[in-house]
Structures are given as structure tokens and as C-alpha cells.
Symmetry: C2
Amino acid sequence: MNDINFAVLGTGGIGRRALEVSADKDELTPIAACDRHGVAVNHDGLDVDELLAATEGNIASDGGTTVESGGDDIKEHGDDKGVVASTQAEPTETPIEDIIAEHEAIDAVLIALPNLEHDFIPTVAERFANAGYEGVLVDVLKRSRVIGMLDDREEQLEESGITFVCGAGATPGLLTGAAALAAQSFIEIEEVEIWWGVGLKSGYEDNRGTVREDIAHLPDYDIESARALSDEEIEEIVDAHDSVIEFNDMEHADDVLLERAGICDAEDVTVGGVLDLRNDEKPTTTTVKVTGRTFDGEVGTNTFELDDDTSMEANVNGPALGYLKAAVRRNWTGDYGVYGPAELMPGF
Amino acid sequence: MNDINFAVLGTGGIGRRALEVSADKDELTPIAACDRHGVAVNHDGLDVDELLAATEGNIASDGGTTVESGGDDIKEHGDDKGVVASTQAEPTETPIEDIIAEHEAIDAVLIALPNLEHDFIPTVAERFANAGYEGVLVDVLKRSRVIGMLDDREEQLEESGITFVCGAGATPGLLTGAAALAAQSFIEIEEVEIWWGVGLKSGYEDNRGTVREDIAHLPDYDIESARALSDEEIEEIVDAHDSVIEFNDMEHADDVLLERAGICDAEDVTVGGVLDLRNDEKPTTTTVKVTGRTFDGEVGTNTFELDDDTSMEANVNGPALGYLKAAVRRNWTGDYGVYGPAELMPGF
């Protein structure tokens, strides 16, 4: 496979780590990155070490990811804000347009913008399509309802030559992929149970976007009310849970993505987990259990389990880049459209 | 996705069960099947129930799979032998050629011929290519050395428009797929351990091909010497092990297939397992353990585990058809060549 030139939209936690992990992956060359204030482009490949070092601490309260939202909460570093602290970056008012302007040099774009209004990523995809981009778009979304918005745009994306993989992080990405594979033993799936444990080594301070998004899954909150919370209010919620928050029946895209892949009904999928903000250890083991019936009439449960020592960061960014590579191979043979991770697995 | 018309070469245990499982899968229509004595073709779809009922007991000492080998050890059923017992089948001297003659109606072929000389399946692939077949070929091979023979023919297969997936059964198919997915947490893989347990419900009598092939993995045997064994000699070996045979450091294609996919070196992969011919229960749990290093410096082991109640048959045939479907989607977009199952997973 030839080298893949890719861009990252958003240089918050996920975007930064994707750049870092890509340095250890064959075939991947990051050539562009942006945040809301700046854009760095180098067709020969960005100097990731410099960019990460210069922008260390570049984590806004929303994860540093709300490019173009006009907020002002990126931590400053040196004289400049965010990615502009890198010598490779230029300030800009239009970071996404600046990346789109480079589209002919780009094979794939990782959209590392997890915590925005629901139609933001579909709209970004539309802008790439309008510009005539032929290539891959990958996001790491978690919410079910975004998928439908992408489907509404599928024809336009196909016409442009875009292969869009949505939800390619840890959940739904890695875990629905595992569920799709585990389902292969069966002819009928009765239940898929996804249970995750996250211990945020770096704590709330460095994972504000993720924590805020997770809080939106608590019974008394939704996306809008969680976005309206101040840092202090979030810290109060965290304290009220003694820094260990359990989630049940989450609106995670795992369900709709497994249904899209024909594996089971969305209602047969349950997603929950525990987030521990006190320490590095995972509070519970991340597990996927797929229960089904075999052709010879047995009922069994296949299990996929992540080691407690693999961090959320490792489990988001490895799969995101893995699905990105798989999508590029499809894109290069003319396979366009919107896919969930499970649809890239063996068929069910 | 449109309907997939597929053919099965070989109606021994694997071929028969693939037909059976396909009845429970969307999008799959079996339109042709053959064994060494006969061929059944119906472009509107075979009557699988009739074919399986009519040929029940059609298990030769080689698994019923050595079409064209001229042997005479298929169990008789009624007046005819093998697939010819079905009202849908005709006797033939050239079963594979007869299937190839139908190639324009066929999207995919499952080659269910596990126990033949090493170059047999590569040669079959060549014959399809020579006939101008555009479509998918899938085998369920286990031996490492066959892959190289397929690679030697890759250019010819690509020119014809063939997408070949080799080793798409339980091992290497399902388990290397799981290893590829489990590897996504890591930037470097230290070790992949594959350990399988098989309890053959149906016993030696109904699984002669599989048992013979497994015996070839014992330290004192190889393919040639195992093929030369009489049924009585095989039964003696089984008895000498009290019907429970443990295998270590097997020459299983899992190693080369994971190396092809760029996941680790072949020597970092170990394959072993236990075959119990006494009873239905698996003697040990089938497990894939992938140990690697994350980008943030931790070492961990992700685990994939099959329920003991899923039979070998379920774990071979589900994945074989699952990979077949995935390969057809690739084939229809012009993605030709030779792939291992792990290469169809997210990139590493």
C-alpha cells in the first residue's frame, strides 16, 4: 500500500494523540492539522514532535476541539494560542476551509471534533464534498443520532468520491468491530453487551471535552445542558460522584451501527461503563459480550476483553487510524459512501 | 448489497455445513455444489434441504473433499455416491470444470477442500483465472506454506479479476481476524498466542478429513505420511492418545497471515490446541491473546474468547461465509488479489 497523507481537524486530546500514534504507524504521513485559531500544512509531512511540544497544554475546556466556535478557552502557551504556538502553523480565521483548500494532497481526514452540536460533523463532510474532495473522512463520534444525519448526505458524499467511516474510536469503533467479529460464530444474535472502564490518567484537567461529553449521558443531562455547564459545575458533578461515574443504557452509536451492519437490532445492544477520574487504574474491565445461537442450535457468548493497562487514548487512536487505513484502501478502489466500523468487518 | 450467488467445491463436512449455514444468512444464494462424482447447479438457488438430506452420510475418509482424486471411499447412500444422490445433481467426470463453466453466474466460490496436496487449491484458482472468472474465491486452508503458492499466482488472479481470501475458517480466519482487531490498541505487537479447543460432537467417523489433517501436525507426522495412513492406523493413533490429542507449535497459516497484514513477525505467533474425540465438550477454551505495547508505554494483553458451546463447525462456516461476503464487496469495486483474513481488518 502506498503512503497515506492525512490531515487532522482539531488538535485537542484526540487530535494530538492521533498525530503521536501515527508516528509509530507505517504508511501514514500527517500533512495538515488545525484548531480554531490556526492551521499547519506541510505536504512532505508535519514535524509532529515540534508541533506536540510547542502546543503542549493546548487543551481547552471543550477538549480544544471547537474550531470556529469563537470561544476563547484554549490554554495559552507562549505568546500564541493553540496550534499557532507551533512554528509550522499560521493563524487563520478559516481553519477548516484552509484544510479543504489542500484537499487534492490529502487521502484521509481524521475529524477529531467529538463534542460539538450534532450536525457539525455532517456539515463538515458536506463542505468537503462541495469542494470536490475525493478521499476518506473518519470521525470518532459516539452518539447514535449523528449517523442518520450522515446517511442523509450519503448520495452527495458518494458523488464526490468520499468514503466516510463514522464512530471509528474505541466505542463504537473498536468494540463494535469486535462485536461484528464475535458474531461470526452465530446465525442469530440475541444480545450485545458493551461495558467499558476508563481511568483517566491525565485527570479532568486534560480531558475536559471527554468528561463533558460523558456527563451528557447521565440521566439528568443531555448534550445541550452539558455544554452549558461551567468548569466549576462539572467539577461539582465529578465530586458528587466521588470522581467515579457509572453510566447505564447510554445513547451510544454502537446500537445503530450494529443494526446497520445487519448483526442485530439496535435494541439488542446495551452500552454502559465506569469513568474513574481519581487515578490511572481502570475501574472495570472493558468487555464486549456477544450472545447468539449457532446453526447447530447452541447458545453461547463470545467475549472480547481489553487489558486494563491499555488506556482510553490507546484504544481510541489505534482503531481510528486503523479504520482510516482500511477506508483509504476502499476509497482507492472506488468504494464510496457512509460506513460504520462494523460494516468494514466480515459480513454477517 | 445485492444477492451473492455462490458455489461450493466439495460437499464433505465443511461444504455441507456451509450450505446449511448459508440458508440462515441474508444475501447468500448457493447455486452450485460438487464433489468428485457429481455436480448440482441451479441458477435460481439449490434446494439445500433436499441436497443435504439426500447426501447425508456423504463423508469420505478424506472428508469427502478429494474431488477428482479418483478414490472410491465416499460412503454410499441409496444407489448413487456422494452429491449424485441428490435429485439436483448429475454425475460427471469433471466436477470442477463443470463449476467453472458456470462462472459467469457465480459471484463467489467456497473451496471446501481442506486435505489435499499443497498446490491443489492454488491450481484450482489458476483454472478459474484461465477461464476468465471475475469473482471471489475463498478457502479454509490452515497450512502456512500454501500462501506463498497463492502469492506466486497473484498477478494472474488480479488480471482475471479474482479476489482470493485464503484461510477464512476458524483458524486462521476468525482467530487472526480477532488478533488483528485486538492489535489495534498497540503500536507494537510482542506476541500472539492462539489456543484452540475442539470437541468433535460427531466423532472421528464424521470428521475424518479434519482428524487426518490434524494428525499431520503431530511431531512424528507430516501431510504426506498422514495421508498415507489407513483408517485403522488413524484410529490407533487416536486410541494411543486416549482420544484427546494436544498440539503445540503447529504450522498454521496464522503466523504468515499476521505477518502479511503487518501486525507482527511470523515467529511472534504461536498456535496450539487440544482435540477431543471422546465427547461433545471442548477440552479447552479457544482463545486469542495479543500482547503489545501502547503508544503511551504500557504493555497489555487483549483477549478474544469463544464460548465453549460454539462448535468448530459454527466457527469455521460462519467466518468463511462472512469473509466471502466481505470479499464480494471488494471484488465488485475492483479490489483484486490475494488476501489473508487479517488484511481485511482495520489496518495496523
